[in-house]
């Protein structure tokens, strides 16, 4: 038996398992990939007790800092610590370069698409994207037609979910163009890991992520409606949160604090003469840019949902008048609709004349008769997703479903085919996680964050989400997922 295979059976890897999925750490059982070699060695030498202590310290620190998220539909203990795993996910520099250029390409094309859809609609006239697909989208906003947004930027902050498929390449699973969250966990994870593996971290040469808040602020300022002739020079930027009951409230406070801007709720803002003000102890103060973490529907009760108490009456008119900028723009949801997703490669080719750098996952559109009948026959193999949902809600994972659930989805699909898409059940790549005192393989994805202001900025890495339940493919925090730090290596 060669030495490399024997090490496999040493703790903490004694029970480490392999299946058909791509393993982030191992090329073959017992043979770590070159960029994982140092971590592998460290783990073999580290007493598991040491790791367990670090894990406890990290958990406690998360609890005390209140790094929590809220679970909906659960009265008791609605605040939960977001589980964090101590073993970093490592991405070599070259791989990251490809992800970076692929995502830059993608956000550029999606922005052009949004501008087009809300203005001339060239791409619809040319028959590249079906007109009815856009107009039937729940997130299409008629109110945005012919409205010019600052710099033509619709999506300032984007979080795109990538998965690594068995051949080792990255593919885009979905775009989040409305209010993507999770970036605070990326920053919190990094802080913890620097404490747990200081030497390893230094020796690896990991690209830093701490400048995210500053880059975000610059991105938001780039949208400022103030001109050089304005009497005020510094734009006032605020972060609009739905409030303390929102699942991502921790993140909102964290980002506002890191950027040094006010965290406001709808009730703190008011609109007068199409100008937006916030109510301060020293009187009313003008607001120029709003990083809103409130969904379109709830932004302005005069324009969208009337029962919204989270929004600001008159905000949309102020936006229309160009007196305030919103990030992201209203109506971006039309471009992250899961059915439209199937057309993104065509969208990239149409606007940029380039081939997509990152592949899409094969997607079945259920409005198409032949694709639908295929899907209905193969529900037990496929994943079905509601087009307008996020956070892992409204999903059917065929291989893990019951006959009853499949029947329910069949009915739903037949009733509203436009509302669902199907994809093959992907075997997400697996990475080692430290669970129950040993390393175990769990499925992971990757959500890098893309900022689009004066130029496109990606903080190296992003949030690696982990499906902590054994065998589970769902990484969402609301569905038992956790996260781990992502190390992008310097060249």
């Amino acid at each position: 038996m060669p030495e490399s295979v024997r090490t496999l059976f040493r703790p903490p890897f004694r029970n480490y398992q392999f299946d058909s999925a791509y393993d982030e750490m191992f090329e073959a059982p017992g043979l770590p990939r070159p960029h994982y070699q140092a971590l592998f060695q460290t783990l073999l030498e580290l007493p598991p007790e040491e790791m367990r202590k670090s894990q406890q310290a990290a958990d406690l620190s998360f609890l005390h800092q209140g790094i929590t998220f809220t679970v909906y539909g659960n009265d008791e203990g609605t605040e939960r610590v977001f589980p964090n795993d101590l073993l970093p996910r490592i991405i070599p520099h070259q791989e990251w370069r490809k992800i970076e250029s692929g995502l830059t390409q993608r956000i550029a094309a999606l922005n052009l698409f949004l501008e087009d859809v809300y203005h001339g609609g060239r791409i619809l006239a040319d028959g590249i994207v079906p007109r009815e697909l856009v107009y039937s989208c729940r997130h299409f906003r008629r109110e945005m037609r012919n409205l010019t947004v600052p710099r033509g930027i619709y999506v300032s902050v984007c979080g795109t979910d990538l998965v690594r498929i068995p051949d080792g390449s990255f593919a885009v699973l979905e775009d989040n163009l409305r209010v993507p969250s999770g970036v605070s966990y990326m920053l919190a994870n990094r802080k913890v890991l620097k404490k747990v593996f200081p030497t390893l971290f230094r020796d690896y040469g990991v690209c830093p992520v701490d400048h995210y808040a500053q880059a975000l602020l610059a991105t938001l300022r780039a949208l400022s409606p103030l001109t050089s002739s304005s009497s005020r020079h510094e734009p006032t930027v605020v972060l609009l949160t739905p409030g303390v009951f929102n699942s991502a409230y921790f993140e909102h406070t964290f980002l506002a604090q890191q950027m040094g801007i006010e965290l406001v709720e709808g009730r703190d803002l008011l609109v007068h003469d199409n100008l937006v003000y916030m109510r301060t102890t020293a009187g009313l103060k003008r607001v120029d840019v709003i990083y809103r973490r409130v969904d379109d529907d709830f932004l302005d009760p005069l324009c969208f949902r009337r029962d919204s108490s989270l929004g600001v009456p008159g905000l949309f008119n102020a936006y229309r008048a160009g007196n305030v900028a919103l990030a992201n723009a209203v109506g971006t949801g039309v471009a992250d609709d899961k059915a439209l997703y199937a057309y993104v490669p065509a969208i990239i080719r149409y606007y940029l004349g380039e081939d997509p750098i990152l592949a899409n996952v094969q997607t079945y559109l259920l409005t198409d008769r032949s694709q639908r009948s295929y899907v209905l026959e193969h529900l037990d193999e496929l994943v079905v997703k509601a087009v307008g949902e996020s956070g892992g809600y409204g999903m059917l994972i065929g291989p893990h479903s019951t006959a009853e659930q499949r029947e329910e989805f069949r009915q739903r699909i037949l009733a509203e085919p436009r509302n669902y898409i199907a994809q093959p059940t992907l075997s997400l790549s697996r990475a080692p996680c430290f669970l129950d005192g040993e390393a175990q393989a769990r499925h992971v994805d990757l959500r890098p964050y893309i900022l689009y202001g004066e130029n496109v900025t990606l903080v190296p890495g992003g949030l690696t989400r982990v499906a902590l339940r054994r065998g589970s493919l769902v990484v969402n925090s609301s569905q038992g997922g956790g996260s781990k730090d992502t190390w992008v290596l310097r060249a």
Binding site: H64, Q65, Y249, F250, A256, A282, G283
Partner: protein, 319 residues
């Protein structure tokens, strides 16, 4: 600073002060009870409930276990310790980005500790540990606040909340004792009465400070003077009002809203207290005096609310 933020900081501070005050009162009461006959003790429950503005038991029966539960771990009582700590934390959670991480962690830790406490017979016997933890938690929070947060506008609202709450709570507590002033209050008291007045001092962390000033001879008149009018002791009414006034002046300066109602009201109350003599206070009716302090403090609170937290928009736009 956002009005909502100021409001939250103010209330966070009030709730935490209230939790600390309640913990100390019950702690002192518990110790006192050990030295007293059960008969002497029962009247004090009513006074305690009154001093804390707590709901009276529905059946009118006094039972130490139930009452302690109502005042400490009963979530349905909005002024119980657990409710106050939760409310303080909830207020701070809403303005987390305004305070230092150290402050948040300290308050969060106190909250987690209080919430993991389970009421039981055994717990009751050693409840002083719990009361001590609440008081220490609040003190620690105050220290962390003072040394990690900028002493700017936000800090001033925290000061304001603490001392408005303290003024009101002290005045109410002193009020419940004034009704039992002896005929000649400037004489040393003994036995049961001695315990009661020492209890009052301890409820304000004032026993040692009192002894330093007046020796260990406990005279009700001196106790009243010390707790009402002493300018240097942090748990006296006068000291608290001084702090309220100072915080309001600083806020008026920072928001460029000088000479507004709240400063004026607090200034007047401050002047009254600093020129009062205890003999005169007694002669003109101590209860009325204390009641008037509470009333003026309430007016200042209302004015703060109207000027800084919830002002009419039309007026603000015309400025």
């Amino acid at each position: 600073m956002l009005s909502r933020v100021a409001d939250s900081l103010y209330w966070m501070s009030r709730y935490l002060e209230r939790a600390e005050h309640t913990a100390r009162l019950i702690d002192v009461d518990f110790q006192l009870r050990l030295d007293q006959s059960p008969e002497a003790g029962s009247g004090r429950w009513w006074r305690l409930l009154e001093a804390l503005q707590a709901p009276h038991p529905e059946d009118g029966k006094i039972d130490a276990t139930t009452l302690t539960h109502i005042l400490t771990l009963d979530k349905t009582n909005s002024s119980s310790i657990i409710s106050c700590v939760t409310a303080a934390r909830e207020n701070l959670r809403q303005v987390r980005e305004q305070c230092s991480s150290e402050m948040w962690e300290q308050l969060n830790r106190l909250y987690l500790q209080v919430n993991s406490t389970v009421s039981s017979e055994a717990w009751l016997l050693h409840s002083h540990v719990f009361f001590r933890a609440v008081q220490e938690g609040a003190h620690l929070f105050q220290g962390v606040t003072d040394s990690t947060m900028s002493h700017g506008e936000g800090w001033q609202y925290i000061q304001l909340g603490r001392y408005v709450e303290r003024t009101d709570a002290l005045a109410r507590l002193i009020g419940t004792h004034l009704s039992r002033l002896p005929y000649s209050p400037d004489q040393a008291v003994e036995s049961e009465e001695y315990l009661e007045w020492v209890g009052l001092l301890k409820s304000c962390t004032a026993f040692e400070a009192y002894c330093k000033k007046y020796t260990a001879e406990v005279r009700p008149l001196r106790v009243a003077e010390f707790l009402l009018l002493n300018p240097e002791f942090p748990h006296s009414v006068r000291f608290s009002v001084d702090m309220v006034h100072a915080a309001l002046r600083a806020i008026a300066e920072l928001t460029e809203r000088k000479a507004e109602q709240p400063v004026r009201l607090a200034g007047r109350l401050r002047a009254t207290l600093s020129f009062s003599q205890i003999d005169e206070v007694m002669a003109s009716g101590a209860n009325a005096y204390v009641e008037s302090v509470r009333q003026q403090c309430g007016q200042a609170h209302t004015a703060i609310h109207q000027i800084y937290f919830d002002y009419p928009v039309e007026e603000a736009l015309s400025h």
